[in-house]
Subunit: 273 residues, 2 copies
């Protein structure tokens, strides 16, 4: 698979890169289908917002040019786009001026994505508790030890797991956002204290009226999942996975999941194979 | 300055290293003086504990051999020793088997350290609030965005800043631990919810009786700093800095700071220039 560092084919970065030293970076994972990076505008916007929060300079034009170059040869793959603070600075003090590193890599599209979409997934409840840090909530930054620890605690029968914060608020799944439907109301957790505000989550919030539901980000509890008529997970690689079981609760209504899935295909938000 | 990656002189690591992707690493900054890495046993122990928490395999013998090799030519420097999870895995799922990367670099010893020791420092109070995450508290892992954000908010007259958590408990300074003395009682914050348990902090806790005080880790408040007779900061590079001012409070008693400083020199815990 391919790898570009600052526009040059290269699989190495400096040991002094602050992405390596401190996780001082933001990243996106983007589905690429038939040479097109899907939902690219939204990914670029989120990168830009993350760079603002972390004081990393963002060169959109150069990044877009490099992404386009890598995608030219791709039929179906995952693109990982990372912008780090680059080298320099003194300890935690940021370099000035900074020269960010752009690191773009391509990866195989996950084979299980389609099966999970068709059959639905078994969702567990992680024992890991996310910290509450409003200064970093929402953006997709490079400090991801919590997700790694949560992932290592999945039970074998789970295909994803719900993460709650230390006040027992539902935040997200390990590598996806979560939605629950009660009647024609679609709810997803507010992410002002923890969690990653996914690009596909935003797409779903924006297009809810097209599938006949109203959508809102709210404080969400475990009970709100258990009492839902329909539950699904979203991210930009999988698109959407219906949940067929969460702990002891089973779900049989996948009607809105299927409508969203069709909409995503029509909109070119996910691969259409 | 020198750089070893897995024992080979090299300034580059793979773009697929999970230290870069997720900050999945632990690190130490060690003072080296006259070919000796100071307090090496304690640094190695903390690295090992951090690797255990993050499920990173720890090869002590190889690491010690590489550290020894790099230190042979050093009169005075800072050594940064990092162990990352290495490459592989699927997203947040850890690689199995894993092949950790050992990344050791040398850096100039900071010039301002001695002046701050002699004159004492002005300590501010950061507006940044640390998250509470007991699963990661105490270890020196590679997810350091909070410290970077806190550092970027220092006011110009500060030489360090106190960080509190979201419940207003004092945790640490940006790149040092904090001690306050009331009479013959030396107190430092408990670090079971946030913060890095410094190697020099541990040294001070262990050797308090040698300078005639009792030492304890406790929940600490801003008021406990303001009402102290003496306040100082510690880390393995600076050794110890007396605090002469914290916000509007000034301190004139540096007696225990000086005793600890002399003890550190006698014990070979800090450079003796």
């Amino acid at each position: 698979m391919a790898s570009l560092v600052n526009g040059i084919t290269n699989e190495q970065v400096s040991v002094h890169d602050r992405g390596l030293l401190y996780g001082q970076s933001v990243f996106e994972t983007i589905a690429v289908y038939r040479q097109q990076p899907l939902l690219l505008d939204a990914h670029i916007q989120r990168l830009q917002r993350g760079c603002e929060v972390l004081s990393i300079e963002f060169d959109e034009a150069t990044l877009l040019q490099e992404i386009g170059r890598l995608c030219e040869a791709i039929q179906l793959a995952v693109l990982r786009v990372m912008v780090s603070m680059g080298e320099g600075g003194r300890g935690y003090l940021n370099p000035s001026p900074a020269r960010p590193n752009r690191i773009i890599t391509t990866h195989d599209y996950p084979q299980h994505a389609q099966a999970y979409r068709d059959r639905g997934v078994v969702l567990g409840l992680s024992e890991f508790r996310l910290a509450r840090q409003p200064a970093l909530a929402g953006i997709k930054h490079g400090n991801r030890l919590e997700q790694i620890m949560a992932r290592s605690n999945w039970q074998p029968q789970w295909q994803e797991a719900v993460l709650v914060d230390q006040m027992e608020n539902v935040i997200e799944a390990t590598q996806a956002n979560i939605f629950v439907r009660h009647g024609d109301q679609l709810l997803t957790p507010m992410l002002d204290q923890a969690g990653v505000a996914g690009v596909m989550r935003e797409y779903i919030l924006q297009s809810a009226d097209k599938v006949g539901v109203s959508a809102e980000a709210v404080p969400l509890s475990i009970a709100d999942i258990e009492s839902a008529e329909e539950v699904f997970l979203s991210n930009c690689i999988i698109g959407l996975w219906p949940v067929r079981q969460f702990q002891k609760t089973t779900f049989n209504d996948f009607s809105i999941s299927h409508k969203f899935f069709e909409l995503m295909q029509r909109d070119g938000a996910i691969p259409t194979f």
